[in-house]
């Protein structure tokens, strides 16, 4: 039920449309104080209108920038609606960003009004307030601890809304006029994304770009107003913004906000979303959790799970894709579904999931197929903030684990001789905010240079290999692309992250970040006592376990003559988890290769110099380096 109307070219027009035609339907649900509370479309539009009046009175101009720092809350989305109502631009920021990280987006976008969730965020903003003369008002949502703040810029959401509600009856004509003034070409949002080097760039997207992509993506899966999505990822990330603001506006489905990050899984079970977006990291942790729990189960249960899952891996994806499966096998899968798959989907809160998406370029095929084999329609998509997020999506019945599917309607894809993916689409961003140089580099002749390497396979599916700058070769000429290798290694429940090196070298080496929960659980079972993460990470037993896991991956590679040389020869387990706070990961949990390789340069060199242990700074104990046995293609054939 995609609303396809030329007249509705801005989000505000969509909002009014929903409020008028289906005002009593739920727009947002939030669990607060133990109860799911509903905001209807009419309620959302009314509150947004009042808030828009108040914001206008507080000096928000058409084209002005409003920042949002907070979690997924109905009020955050109301405030976004109000901002768009006045033709202003939303600038969502990550709530776990430091004050210093917030400084440059706020300065460069000349943000005038900020919606901050709570005291913690207000404190950060007040810290940088002297350097940001453009800030006129900081609006906070939760009043806890806020009563002592006497700064003239600080005002509560409630107070602002009260002022707006008072003014609203006299301003109806103004509000209507503001909506009519909006056009699709207006800038809707600026998303600040940090690139590999950690430098933040503001991606400017218009209403029409976002709307066109969301529309195309919605029609791929026939999204309709009965769908339900859960908003649990940072709203500052374009993916969450599309799933919990843009697409609901266009399709009219309901977005649910969990009570807190810790209650997410329980809330997921209560809500039972039908449309789900999960970054690979979330999926990996779900699989790891499931395997930890099953290891703790009694013997016959474990046996049942193992045999059912083996069957699921074989039959599940084919059944889900609607391929023919010998009719005699079907009762077995049905039995497995009754005993294992359906309860498992229930525990994961995915019983009602109709469509789920993850990013193809980062997900390991094993993790991906886990979900498909138990009957969850998980698919891959590809895109970025610059390309309007929906570039390629897998279609139902055409899912291959190693591609991201066909380009979405309206998207053209071509490739440079170096295999860089170029995209032309109505969803392309307009520019990098205040950075014409970077813009000119990214968009040349109307084509976005994504910086990703890839190709179209024989069926016209896009296959994304890695970031172009990461693609290299070993000394002997073997093509070296770290990401697919890392994805394979990460598929092990014991390994959280892997960063592999090999460009311009003879062999491949890896830094391994272990999954503390899974390995801790394993160590408990083996009666291995340990004091903490660093201790666990330097245990011989753990090294042996990880070496085994990597060797399994190597065995797969060895059978492929082209990749046989890309087997990991040596590895080090890091003493400390990779953490967004150290800048090692992005806010979305993806590894920043540059930062990691710079930080652990000495470790990498030591691996290539053949040392068996290395000390990189005086405060930490030595890192141990270990070899992994590798197979030649001949051996692997013999073994098979």
């Amino acid at each position: 039920m995609v609303i396809d109307n030329v007249e509705t070219d801005t989000f505000s027009k969509f909002l009014i449309h929903h409020s008028k035609t289906r005002g009593e339907h739920p727009a947002i649900r939030e669990k607060s104080r133990g109860i799911w509370r509903t905001t209807t479309w009419r309620g959302l539009a009314d509150e947004a209108g009042s808030l828009a009046c108040a914001l206008h009175a507080k000096g928000l101009q058409r084209g002005g920038h409003v920042a949002f720092v907070g979690d997924n809350r109905p009020r955050l989305y109301v405030a976004m609606c109000a901002t768009h109502w006045l033709g202003a631009v939303t600038v969502p920021l990550y709530r776990d960003a430091t004050a210093k990280e917030m400084l440059s987006p706020i300065q460069s976008a000349e943000v005038t009004h900020i919606f901050a969730e709570d005291q913690e965020q207000v404190d950060k903003l007040l810290e940088i307030l002297p350097q940001c003369p453009s800030i006129r008002f900081i609006v906070y949502d939760k009043d806890r601890g806020m009563r002592h703040y006497k700064q003239p810029q600080v005002i509560s959401y409630e107070e602002l809304l009260r002022q707006g509600r008072e003014a609203e009856p006299l301003k109806r004509d103004f509000l209507q006029a503001e909506i009519n003034r909006g056009a699709g070409q207006d800038v809707a949002s600026v998303f600040f994304t940090a690139d590999e080097t950690g430098l933040a760039k503001g991606v400017v997207l218009t209403h029409s770009a976002l709307i066109s992509r969301a529309r195309a993506a919605a029609s791929v899966d026939d999204l309709n107003d009965a769908d339900v999505a859960l908003a649990y990822l940072p709203p500052a990330w374009i993916g969450q913004n599309l799933f919990s603001y843009v697409q609901p506006m266009i399709v009219g489905y309901c977005v649910c906000c969990p009570e807190s990050a810790e209650t997410m899984l329980a809330d997921l079970r209560e809500i039972g979303p039908t449309y789900f977006l999960a970054p690979p990291r979330v999926l990996e942790s779900i699989v790891t959790q499931a395997s930890i729990r099953m290891e703790g189960a009694s013997g016959w249960r474990r046996g049942l799970y193992k045999s059912s899952m083996a069957m699921a891996r074989w039959l599940g994806p084919r059944i889900l894709s609607g391929e023919g499966v010998f009719i005699g096998f079907r009762p077995f899968y049905a039995l497995g579904n009754l005993l294992v798959y359906a309860p498992l989907r229930g525990v994961l809160g995915m019983s009602r999931v109709r469509v789920a998406y993850t990013f193809g370029e980062n997900v390991s095929p094993k993790v991906f197929m886990f979900f498909r084999s138990i009957g969850i329609n998980l698919k891959q998509l590809y895109g970025s903030a610059e390309s309007g997020f929906f570039v390629a999506m897998q279609r139902n019945g055409e899912v291959k684990p190693d591609t991201v599917g066909k380009p979405v309607e309206g998207v053209e894809v071509k490739f440079t001789p170096e295999c860089e993916i170029l995209v032309r689409s109505p969803g392309l961003f307009r520019e990098y905010h205040n950075d014409t140089q970077a813009t000119a580099l990214a968009i040349r002749d109307g084509w976005l240079h994504t910086g990703d390497a890839g190709y179209l396979d024989d069926d016209g599916h896009l296959r994304v290999v890695d970031r172009l700058q990461n693609v290299g070769a070993l000394h002997d000429g073997t093509l070296f692309t770290p990401k697919p290798l890392e994805n394979r290694i990460k598929a092990s429940p014991y390994i959280a992250e892997a960063v592999v090196f090999g460009d311009g070298r003879d062999t491949v080496c890896a830094l391994i970040d272990i999954d503390a929960a899974a390995i801790g659980n394993w160590a408990d079972k083996k009666n291995i006592s340990y004091t903490g993460h660093a201790d666990l990470a330097s245990r011989d037993e753990v090294y042996a376990l990880v070496a085994d896991e990597i060797a399994k991956m190597s065995a797969q590679l060895a059978s492929d003559p082209v990749l046989a040389n890309a087997q990991v020869r040596r590895f080090v387990i890091l003493h400390k988890e990779l953490d967004p706070e150290d800048g090692m990961l992005t806010h979305m949990g993806a590894v920043r290769r540059d930062v990691v390789s710079k930080r652990y340069k000495a470790l990498v060199e030591a691996m290539y110099e053949g040392h068996s242990s290395v000390n990189i700074d005086a405060e930490t104990s030595d890192f141990i380096i270990r070899d992994v046995p590798t197979l030649t293609p001949m051996q692997s054939k013999r073994a098979a």
Partner: protein
């Protein structure tokens, strides 16, 4: 995470008022053992008052006297200007004095939610049959209680363990739940018996923040016992120091810190 150093007393939600609790010449003996010897001090409305002292100084006895568990042989207690005689824990609770215990005293097999609901007992008037038959008053009260409890759950940030049995929680969280149960009774005075004992630094900081927030948000008067001097000095308005059942110091954290008797007691000078 939290900012412990500058405690801005002037900027609090509730100004410190008149004495709400006065203890005069309290002496407590167990047989021949003198637990407390003529101790006098007062607690003012909305303040955070700490009782500190080395092990065996009589801190817990003092709290038990206020709470009505022990009856002092000598001395009197005035609560809100009226003398209190024949104090019992139940009466204390009815009069708005809630407490937590040094060795957590929660219902281990019950969920966090049920423990907090139990804390609402005094705010419940419906009788056994009314509740059993789910008559209107019982249902209304149940809803009101649940709402009050949910507010506390949000306040203490324990939404994620709402339905978890208490026995399965780590120590620091159990302490927080116990604070929650005491708060559920909407007390005027909150007695905390070593709320930070056995916690790591992070848990201590969290607990400090919650105690200050309770005081700031609900205006609850807090009396707390602690032997960790550092923590106490940061969050209390005034401190009483006990040693061998005698009061050796009383005043603001700074006054107490420079009190020679206190220094001696903590550094261990021969008596």
């Amino acid at each position: 995470m939290m900012d412990m150093t500058p405690l801005q007393i002037s900027e609090r939600g509730f100004a410190i008022g008149q004495p709400i609790l006065e203890l005069n010449e309290i002496s407590l003996r167990f047989g021949g053992v003198k637990a407390l010897t003529s101790i006098s001090f007062d607690v003012r409305q909305h303040e955070v008052r700490a009782i500190i002292g080395p092990n065996g100084a009589g801190k817990s006895s003092m709290l038990n006297v206020i709470n009505g568990i022990y009856r002092p042989q000598e001395g009197s207690i005035n609560y809100q200007g009226k003398p209190l005689a024949n104090m019992t824990p139940t009466r204390a609770a009815r009069m708005g004095i809630s407490r937590t215990f040094q060795n957590i005293a929660l219902f281990k097999g019950m969920s966090v939610l049920d423990n907090l609901m139990a804390g609402r007992y005094l705010r419940t008037h419906a009788g056994f049959l009314e509740v059993a038959l789910q008559l209107p008053r019982a249902r209304r009260e149940e809803n009101e209680n649940r709402e009050a409890v949910e507010e506390i759950i949000e306040f203490l940030e324990i939404e994620h363990i709402r339905k978890t049995p208490v026995a399965r929680l780590p120590y620091g969280l159990q302490k927080r739940v116990e604070l929650g149960r005491a708060l559920a009774a909407e007390p005027k005075i909150l007695l905390l018996d070593e709320p930070m004992a056995g916690m790591n630094i992070e848990e201590k900081q969290d607990m400090c923040r919650f105690i200050l927030d309770v005081n700031d948000h609900y205006g609850t008067t807090v009396v707390l016992i602690e032997h960790d001097m550092g923590v106490v000095m940061d969050i209390s308005d005034r401190v009483v120091v006990l040693d061998y059942g005698k009061k050796i110091g009383d005043g603001t954290p700074n006054e107490v810190r420079s009190n020679q008797d206190v220094i001696d007691a903590y550094l261990g000078v021969a008596h």
